[in-house]
């Protein structure tokens, strides 16, 4: 098996597609963010990486709160649009027709149409060079009732999608149960 070296690349695939919400100068703004990951579970924390000039980062500095909204694949156009235009020049809420609601935090706007909404408070901001790494503590989680199975969020109903440079992909079929399929390996070596 031959390998090609590409130099240092941020090549962690697949990336989720999220819409990050913040309040800038008192107005809700939403931006598409793929460079995000879970950082910890207790207390739950999530990272997002934003370039320093991003308008949504301004709102995060202003209020120390933000939201992460997981769009379903029906919202692929809206999500892409939120990554193309700046909130400094456009009212994305109006353009996309988002219904905005609020939970525990007054400055973390949530998108009703997105099946999963997380409200976060900033715990740390680290300067990583081209990007600011914002580490947020999740303070509340909202899931659309019709995306639950046995009271738990179901990825096949949430229907999130994946960002790659160039294309959005659906999440495909479930093909194995975690911490079960691997038991078939034991003693193979």
């Amino acid at each position: 098996m031959t390998k090609k070296k590409l130099g240092p690349q941020p090549l962690l695939w697949p990336h989720p597609t999220t819409i990050v919400g913040s309040h800038v100068d008192g107005k809700p703004d939403f931006a598409a963010v793929a460079w995000t990951g879970v950082a910890a579970s207790s207390p739950p924390a999530i990272t997002i990486a934003l370039q320093h000039h991003r308008y949504s980062l301004k709102g995060i500095y202003q209020n120390k709160t933000f939201s992460i909204n997981i769009p379903s694949r029906d919202l692929v156009k809206e999500a892409d649009y939120c990554g193309l235009v700046s909130g400094a020049k456009t009212d994305k809420v109006k353009d996309c027709g988002f219904k905005v609601f609020y939970g525990t935090l007054a400055t973390a706007p949530l998108i009703e149409e997105c099946p999963v909404n997380l409200e976060l408070e900033v715990a740390h901001i680290i300067n990583m060079g081209s990007h600011a790494l914002v580490i947020g503590r999740v303070v509340e989680t909202h899931v659309s009732e019709d995306c639950l199975t046995d009271g738990q969020p179901d990825i096949n109903k949430v229907r999130p999608f994946i960002f790659t440079p160039g294309k959005y992909h659906a999440v495909g079929e479930a093909f194995a149960d975690t911490f079960k399929i691997g038991k078939e390996i034991k003693g193979k070596g």
């Binding site: 098996m1 031959t2 070296k5 695939w13 950082a39 990825i155 992909h169 093909f175 691997g182 070596g189």
Partner: protein, 191 residues
């Protein structure tokens, strides 16, 4: 549309599924992680949330290096297996039949069968409670030649998979293309 509140939950959908490689006392070890993300583009950096008691974290403390290996869907059993046993008690390389190789970093073992391999040097470690957030600088990227199209990595050839929680935790494949990024939204403007 009615919503149900669940309190604070780390529910990001979907999460990638990767194998983190480390060396501890000179022996290579691999463990699956879904709690990771890109943390910067220039320089390229990546984070992994690791519980303090993990064998993987011991190796990272020892050498300040690690690898991130992206498995293809063919390697789902091996990936899952690496999450059910500890490297302190098991030789996962032998059990899974991994071919291990090294690039620039002497203590960041790479799995040849995984289509994408990242070599990382630790930049920051942040204690976030039961997890340590390890942030690494990516110093080299290896991609299997078969997984390139026009010299660039192709997700449909890499065939990574995603992890999700829910009524039962499971792995999902990456599915069909929905649209072209930064194009599909271009002419979109609701009145």
């Amino acid at each position: 549309m009615s919503k149900k509140e669940f309190g604070p939950q780390p529910w990001l959908f979907p999460n990638p599924a990767v194998l983190v490689g480390t060396m501890f006392d000179g022996k290579s070890n691999f463990a699956p992680y879904a709690w990771c993300g890109i943390t910067g583009g220039e320089p390229p950096t990546i984070s992994v949330g690791i519980r303090h008691e993990r064998h993987t974290l011991k190796g990272i403390h020892q050498n300040k290096t690690f690898s991130v290996n992206v498995p293809s869907a063919d390697m789902i059993k091996e990936t899952d297996y690496c999450g059910t046993v500890s490297g302190a008690k098991t030789d996962k390389v032998k059990e899974c039949g991994f071919k291990v190789y090294y690039g620039k970093l002497a203590a960041a073992p790479l799995i040849e069968q995984c289509p994408v391999n990242l070599e990382c040097e630790v930049l920051h470690m942040l204690n976030l409670g039961i997890h340590m957030l390890v942030i690494g600088k990516i110093v080299e990227t290896h991609v299997t030649e078969d997984c390139l199209t026009d010299g660039q990595p192709d997700i449909m050839k890499i065939r990574p998979f995603v992890y999700s929680r829910g009524p039962s935790a499971r792995y999902n494949a990456v599915g069909e293309v929905l649209g072209q990024a930064f194009v599909i939204g271009k002419d979109f403007k609701k009145k």
